[in-house]
Symmetry: C2
């Protein structure tokens, strides 16, 4: 059980393309992959002056193929969004050697005719992880076997992906059978599969979410990356479709301790953590009447060092729930709550 059908699928090991990108903030995908899935990374491909270093072996396409790499994964964004010719030459060469090409960039890989021809010739796949698979179903609402926990954010970019990854590790460390389920491009790169939910046609969002966390063993947990926020003036529909399709047994509220208004929507104050939890429970009950909140995961990195502990302790007392900073503390407290509900 547990095979995900009809989601995007990647073939490791990966040669991570860094190129001549010098700015680490443009290399989040590469760093995320090495942080969470080091064992799937054969090496990195870099050139030029002082490129970003992921701390894995440097290799060119031929060396990567010899080392068993199956895909070249573009681990950086290009400044301005346009891929330089120098990058294309290497990407085409990798496709010529039969490596799948994996991209989270906006443009379609197949729109580069030289790359399309090389892939056709060698049989390499061109995988745009932002693009959902075709023929997604409408959400059925059918109860699936296995257990699920979904990250719900008070906003975008509050650490939902990180929280889901950390929670998966904490659950595994406690002996549970748990799988991180990706719903966004970087998450898909890390998980090796998934669907970029926000790129799905609206009618099929819940159906795509159902595919992301299919039937599984009764004691298996899917830990599902969230998207957007139920209170987001732009993206709420994505979040609700994902919630209903995920039919979670539990939710974890994710928050940034310094955030007071919606990122990029300054006229929209953030919902409180309690409001986010209550909305998640109220709406989540439609497809899972037993849904409960298992904890709060807060990015406290911009609080003063001395303030973090008291902040989380007070929050935990107020909410009656485990409250953690997933980077500083890990998610063991939430994992315990999931595995031995109060």
């Amino acid at each position: 059980m547990g095979a995900t059908t009809r989601t995007v699928r990647l073939r490791p090991p990966y040669l991570v393309f860094i190129g001549d990108q010098q700015d680490p903030s443009y290399a989040k995908t590469g760093f995320g992959l090495v942080d969470w899935r080091r064992e799937l990374v054969a090496g990195q491909l870099r050139f030029g002056d002082k490129p970003v270093d992921l701390g894995v072996p440097d290799m060119d396409v031929e060396a990567a193929v010899a080392a068993g790499a199956k895909s070249l994964l573009i681990g950086v964004a290009s400044v301005g969004g346009v891929i330089p010719d120098e990058w294309w030459n290497i990407i085409v060469a990798a496709a010529n050697k039969g490596l799948d090409i994996v991209s989270g960039l906006h443009g379609r890989l197949a729109d580069n005719s030289a790359l399309a021809a090389a892939a056709r010739e060698s049989g390499a796949l061109l995988v745009d992880v932002r693009r959902p698979p075709p023929d997604l179903p409408v959400g059925s609402g059918r109860k699936r076997s296995g257990k699920r926990v979904l990250m719900l954010g008070t906003d975008c970019a509050v650490g939902k992906k990180y929280s889901a990854l950390a929670l998966t590790e904490s659950m595994k460390a406690l002996g549970a059978d748990a799988t991180f389920r990706a719903t966004g491009q970087t998450g898909i790169m890390i998980a090796g599969e998934g669907i970029a939910i926000d790129a799905v046609v609206a009618d099929f969002v819940a159906g795509a979410a159902e595919l992301v966390s299919p039937d599984n063993d009764d004691d298996h947990w899917d830990v599902i990356e969230g998207q957007g926020s139920l209170s987001h003036p732009g993206y709420s529909g994505v979040s609700l479709g994902l919630l209903h399709g995920s039919q979670p047994d539990a939710i974890v509220v994710c928050h940034d301790a310094m955030r007071t208004s919606t990122l990029g929507w300054p006229d929209y104050p953030l919902p409180t953590i309690a409001e986010c939890r209550e909305l998640g429970i109220l709406l989540g009950r439609r497809t899972n009447p037993a849904v409960y909140c298992a904890g709060i995961s807060v990015n406290t990195s911009e609080l003063a060092e001395s303030a973090r502990g008291p902040y989380l302790k007070q929050l935990s007392a107020d909410m009656g729930l485990p409250c953690v900073d997933p980077v500083a503390d890990g998610c063991e407290a939430i994992a315990r709550r999931l595995l031995v509900p109060a």
Copy 2:
């Protein structure tokens, strides 16, 4: 003010294509157009044995062009979904004469190469009303001028489009400046513009809804067709994005008196009218804190004749709101509540 930008736009008057379709249930678009926008219909094009009759003049393409028609609008679905060659020949001939071709069918018009060539030659537009316009924005949440009322359903197919059309007429009859705003394919055919919200990529649903009801005069009302239901296990995300993007001042709950479970999802009991109203108010407050419920619009056609009046009277007493059957009663009671809030 009030121009809708970047939505699908149609050019009347229309020649409504019926072809040899004999089954009125396949001609809902044609009947809806004649029911609500008779003044935009030049005539109907029919052939074969006992085709459906919309009760408007029969004419061929040449006569329609001479009568000033600007578009051929496909007013029927074909049995099995495939357009017969006989239909294509006439559609291509219409495009050759410069008529825009308007289709709500699933397939893309431009995928017929003869039609694409004819349109290229004559300058006719091929308008697939199911396909959203390109380059939709993300919802901004910015407060727009003018007033809005949105239909919210307890389910799909409970009369949201009909209610919005009838309410628009009732508001106009009371002297208000009101515009029906379409969010689905048949509604777009009737309104002559709009966006098929459920076909929009999830990230852009609220943004598309914002385009559907743009800034307008302070006392102008947009009466917005709803989609799906906030409680629908498959389509809830569409409904929430539409709600947040519409930022309605008021909602009208639409319901079918005989419906007890979600159409096609028998395991999902329908929310009550009160639950639907409360969810709409709770969620709608995010983009319009003053949102209120102006009434309930119920399809009572399958109740016994003698039961309809008592049903609506009891519902009105229970809810403290005007409750109407829009077909039997019209929507004047709800229009009055909107124009002179209690």
